[in-house]
């Protein structure tokens, strides 16, 4: 995790999805990999049941939530109305 786009992702309340690569259950510390391929140490003690291969949401070095992609609210695929240029 770093400061991208000229703003601090920790300060701006951003959290990033990361994949758990290795987890030490005794300490709750894990090595997680972000979308950019960069690995960092993450404290997973707050994410119940997270295991290797799972996706977790990480903020300021701590996992906050277990990702559940299948729970996403479906988006309708209805196309733009005809002549539907935005005003």
């Amino acid at each position: 995790m770093g400061c991208a786009d000229d703003h601090c992702i920790t300060c701006s309340d951003a959290a990033v999805p990361m994949r758990v690569r290795r987890l030490d259950r005794a300490s709750g510390l894990a090595e997680c990999v972000g979308d950019d391929g960069v690995a960092s140490e993450v404290d997973l003690t707050l994410v119940e049941g997270a295991g290797e291969g799972d996706t977790v949401l990480v903020h300021a070095g701590v996992g906050l939530a277990h990702g559940r992609p299948d729970d996403a609210v479906p988006i309708s695929r209805r196309p733009m109305p005809r002549g539907g240029d935005l005003p």
Binding site: M1, G2, C3, D5, H7, C8, T10, C11, S12, D13, A14, A15, P17, R19, D35, E41, D43, T45, L46, V47, E48, T55, L57, H59, A60, G61, V62, L64, A65, G67, R68, P69, D70, D71, A72, V73, I75, S76, R77, R78, P79, M80, P81, G84, L86, P87
Partner: protein, 351 residues
């Protein structure tokens, strides 16, 4: 990645824009507040507002943890940073926030040992590596960041680290929202709820907004489609005459929040009776201090701090920006006296 890429799909974005267009009532002006600074950033990064009809206006809320820190607290931090033997640690944006007599970056230039960290756990590592120095972490942030500070303090206590302490500026999101909803000049039709705060606190703390103030709130993710979908959900509630808390960010946010995180927060922190917010004044029960069980790790008790309230600069309109009354560029000093290099107010520092 299934959390990100599919929520950036341009075709779906256009489809959602069409749905939004179909949901608005012509002639009615909609003002929706995005509470979280992270949403504000996504809106500008992806140009989300360019996809909205002209009568749907997005207004920025008080949810930027850097913007709300008052000058007096920065001064307290700088005073500790100047103490002999102290290594002072904080997040990047905080370094540029002005106190009454300069920023932490200025203090660093004057010789204070101030280091930027990405997480409080990094500050703990610095403390372990420097047992002969006092390492202080300047904690800021809403409920998203507070668990990270809490876990760090728990580890420090468990390890018996004597040279680590924390100056706690953690704030909570509900009290400023309530203050905002009480303000007489408010004209908002609905709220985009702070998705990452909700991973911790869940949806329930926000139910007072529809119940007591008659405004819908939709908890939203941070990708462009998340925001468009949340806006559509708010507009649909308004069109159908419904008013409730809905969760667009279900793939991450459980309704009950993160119970383990809430337990840790309750153990490590206690509510302050009141706390000053930049531009908003004092708001009761809106911030956290270290609980009595963690008093030994409280930098405010370990060091003497000025603790003086410093009035916001007269020219600064951060308060009106934080309440959504004006846009940042409508501030009198925006881009002229107040620039990213020489900020007068906090809003200029952090998106």
């Amino acid at each position: 990645m299934r959390f990100v890429d599919e929520f950036r799909d341009a075709e779906l974005g256009r489809a959602l824009a069409g749905e939004i267009l179909a949901a608005v009532e012509p002639g009615r002006h909609y003002k929706l507040m995005e509470v979280c600074g992270g949403h504000t950033h996504s809106i500008y990064k992806y140009g989300v507002d360019d996809l909205l009809p002209a009568n749907v206006e997005l207004v920025h809320g008080p949810g930027c943890p850097v913007c709300v820190i008052p000058m007096g607290r920065v001064d307290d931090g700088i005073a500790i940073a100047h103490e002999p033997g102290v290594i002072f640690t904080c997040f990047g944006d905080m370094l540029r926030v002005p106190g009454s007599n300069g920023t932490l970056l200025d203090a660093k230039a004057q010789g204070a040992d101030i280091r930027m960290v990405y997480s409080p756990l990094d500050a703990l590592r610095i403390a372990r590596a420097n047992p002969d120095r006092e390492v202080v972490f300047f904690a800021i942030g809403f409920e998203t960041t507070a668990p990270s500070t809490a876990l760090t303090l728990k580890r420090a206590k468990a390890e018996g680290l004597r040279n680590f302490s924390c100056i706690c500026n953690h704030v909570t999101i509900v009290p400023p929202l309530r203050a905002l909803l009480e303000s007489p000049d408010l004209r908002l039709d609905g709220f985009i709820g702070p998705g990452h705060v909700c991973t911790v606190v869940g949806g329930r703390p926000f139910s007072f907004i529809p119940a007591d103030y008659g405004r819908p709130l939709v908890i939203a993710g941070f990708e462009p489609l998340d925001l468009l979908q949340a806006i559509h959900m708010i507009l649909r509630q308004l069109a159908e005459g419904r008013c409730e808390v809905e969760n667009q960010y279900k793939r991450v946010v459980p309704w009950e929040g993160n119970l383990r995180a809430l337990e840790v927060l309750a153990e490590v922190f206690a509510l302050r009776p009141h706390f000053e917010w930049r531009g908003l004044g004092f708001i009761s029960q809106s911030a956290l201090r270290l609980s009595d069980a963690y008093a030994d790790l409280d930098a405010e008790r370990r060091f003497s701090v000025p603790g003086v309230r410093v009035a916001d600069p007269k020219a600064c309109q951060c308060g009106e920006v934080l309440k959504g009354v004006i846009k940042p560029w409508e501030c009198k000093v925006f881009g002229t006296a107040c620039t990213p290099e020489h900020a007068i107010g906090t809003c200029m520092v952090s998106p």
